[in-house]
């Protein structure tokens, strides 16, 4: 409104005020800071030398071939995928049910319930890891794939809950009511009307839960058992041993996998819109 009233010269000057000096420089420096380590890592993973030094010794992909042929690592990848699938499925189903419950009329203990759902995100992961370990030891659950899956299901729930809840909130309540008016049972109403509409939320939530399970290091470190090492724990023990070109290659592969997953989930999200 004011634009039309003031002369053009004045408008231009005012637009210039939006730029705050120095912010661009800081932003560019910050982007560099974010990306230089990653780029350095990728470059060094192609170094041919046997030494673990930062020197460039010729281009080679043999460390990647080494790593991909490593049976222990492949086993760790398989374990990670199994654990993530199981935890995501359980977590997403439970989270969907919880989101359905909280999207109705507000009930008495709702804030307490929502705090509880958020609890796994608040508790520091090392505390959660220790507590879960102690619990498994006391109850006598043998540590292995199943123990990690159980531990991961817990924090899969809040990750899946948030997008599903958001999606449910945007839903028109009249739709569910209409279904009920037409003599549909609650289950039919859910399956035919609600579920298809909240499906993007469920997919997004499942993806979040899956990625968080794949990336978890600390909790897995404490509750993994004999032969049940997941990929992050395996890489963690390699990284602790020291810098080697093999670790560079593994790290780059891990990074590419995470980025690929993120891109897939982003594209899926766009498609569902």
């Amino acid at each position: 409104m004011t634009d039309a009233v003031l002369p053009a010269r004045f408008t231009l000057w005012r637009f210039d005020l939006w730029r705050f000096p120095g912010t661009r420089a800081v932003a560019i420096a910050a982007f560099l800071y974010l990306y230089v380590p990653i780029v350095a890592l990728v470059i060094l993973s192609f170094s041919a030398g046997d030494s673990s030094l930062a020197r460039w010794e010729g281009f080679s992909i043999h460390w990647y071939l080494d790593v991909l042929g490593n049976a222990d690592m492949l086993r760790a990848i398989r374990n990670s995928l199994v654990v993530a699938s199981g935890a995501t499925t359980t977590g997403t189903i439970i989270a969907t049910m919880a989101a359905l419950a909280t999207s109705g009329p507000r009930f008495r203990l709702q804030s307490g319930f929502e705090a509880m759902i958020g609890l796994p995100l608040i508790v520091p992961d090392i505390v959660a890891g220790i507590a879960t370990l102690l619990f498994f030891v006391m109850v006598g659950v043998p540590l292995g794939i199943v123990s990690i899956m159980l531990a991961h299901s817990v924090f899969a729930i809040p990750f899946a809950y948030l997008p599903i809840r958001a999606r449910l909130q945007g839903l028109d309540p009249a739709l569910a009511e209409a279904a009920a008016d037409l003599y549909a049972t609650p289950w039919q109403g859910f399956r035919r009307i609600v579920l298809p509409l909240i499906w993007p939320g469920i997919a997004a939530g499942a993806m979040l839960a899956f990625i968080s399970s794949l990336g978890d290091v600390v909790v897995s470190y404490f509750v993994s058992g004999p032969g049940a090492t997941t990929l992050p724990v395996y890489v963690f023990s390699m990284v602790r041993m020291g810098v080697t070109p093999a670790v560079n290659a593994i790290s780059t592969l891990l990074m590419l996998a995470s980025i690929a997953l993120l891109t897939v989930s982003y594209l899926l999200g766009r498609r569902f819109q």
């Binding site: 046997d50 030494s51 673990s52 030094l53 222990d72 086993r75 199994v82 699938s85 199981g86 499925t89 359980t90 370990l133 498994f136 030891v137 659950v141 043998p142 540590l143 292995g144 794939i145 199943v146 123990s147 579920l195 298809p196 499906w199 058992g225 004999p226 032969g227 090492t229 023990s237 602790r240 041993m241 020291g242 810098v243 080697t244």
Partner: protein, 351 residues
């Protein structure tokens, strides 16, 4: 849409039993090995798999104490662990390892004396020998004027300026405290509080000069120059030396640890027969030599010498010169009071 829900339900239903089915089917031909990190030749494991069809999974730890801790923390289920002599002795006492009667195994005859009948496991009822070695002092000759230092622990605990801030120590209670004890002329298994006080003071005075306490990654940090002086196992030295030729291994005159690692089967192992096969396999001369060639440590098997690599045989850290042998101090299992004292010193040092 419905199909997608079905697909997910099916995947969920399959993923859990799948984990179970593979486990039970593979239980017959599997071996879960729990070993020190960087301490097992992958080629050797492949050879074992080729010969027996048993698939080996390797998990690692950094010290005996971590291994014990993991076994308590629901880590039962490992088939083979690798404790050092005194730790094995304690585990036998506590009933944490199974009797395998290795003395009856086919390859037992290849074991050199005195490794066939050690004090910590008479007659090898519970274990077979793996690698043995020493823990000495390593430094980079290029980093000190004149390229030479005294062969004494003094250089580690009261370091010269050239090495201050560039020292690496093993984060291993037994190794660090015994080295301090040798330097101070104290008994390896002392229980006296005043002795403990002296050790603690020595270590605390040294602490500002130490760059890192870590029992893993010694080879890389020495080879890359991250540290210029290191309390190091002789096999690790051998491997680091291959990458950085200016480093040297010292046998300190006050005495240094002589230790032996062993393969044992912990309580709760699920593949006991496979474990026994593995233990027997490791007593074969060719296999023991392969392990030595990879790790850089000595083995306890006669007939393995001919298969050892040339550079290993020529390494003074591996092939101890006669004159240095009297400096060996075999590691002993100390009394509970002595071990408690060590714990107190260690926790105070490393908070």
């Amino acid at each position: 849409m419905r199909r997608i829900v079905m697909a997910i339900a099916a995947a969920a239903a399959l993923s859990i039993p799948a984990a179970g089915v593979t486990a039970s089917a593979a239980e017959e031909k599997e071996l879960l090995l729990f070993n020190w990190s960087n301490y097992m030749s992958p080629d050797l494991l492949k050879r074992f798999e080729a010969e027996t069809g048993i698939k080996v999974t390797l998990d690692t730890y950094d010290t005996n104490e971590s291994m014990l801790s993991k076994l308590q923390a629901g880590g039962a289920g490992y088939d083979v662990v690798v404790p050092t002599g005194p730790t094995l002795q304690q585990m036998i006492k506590d009933g944490l390892v199974l009797k395998v009667d290795a003395g009856t195994f086919s390859n037992y005859k290849s074991v050199k004396k005195p490794f066939d009948n050690p004090s910590f496991d008479p007659g090898r009822a519970y274990s077979v020998p793996y690698m043995w070695g020493t823990t000495g002092l390593v430094y980079d000759t290029a980093k000190v004027a004149g390229g030479k230092i005294d062969d004494s622990w003094k250089e580690l605990f009261e370091p010269r300026q050239d090495f201050v801030g560039k020292i690496g120590m093993l984060k291993d209670m037994g190794e660090v405290i015994t080295a301090a004890e040798y330097y101070l002329g104290l008994d390896q298994c002392t229980e006296k509080a005043e002795d403990g006080q002296k050790i603690l003071e020595l270590l605390e005075k040294q602490k500002p000069a130490v760059k890192v306490y870590n029992a893993e990654g010694t080879v890389d940090r020495v080879a890359s120059g991250d540290v210029a002086m290191e309390l190091m196992w002789n096999g690790s030295f051998h491997r680091a030396h291959a990458k950085l030729s200016s480093i040297v291994y010292i046998y300190p005159k006050e005495g240094l640890n002589l230790w032996g690692d062993n393969l044992a089967v912990p309580k709760g192992a699920k593949h006991i027969e496979n474990a026994k096969l593995f233990l027997n396999f490791m007593m074969d001369p060719k296999n023991a030599a392969e392990a030595s060639n990879y790790t850089g440590y000595n083995n306890a098997i006669s007939g393995a010498e001919q298969h050892l690599k040339e550079d290993l045989r020529n390494d003074a850290a591996f092939n101890t010169p006669e004159a240095m042998v009297p400096r060996f101090r075999p590691l002993q299992l100390c009394s509970k009071a002595a071990l408690d004292l060590r714990e107190k010193i260690w926790t105070r040092l490393l908070r």
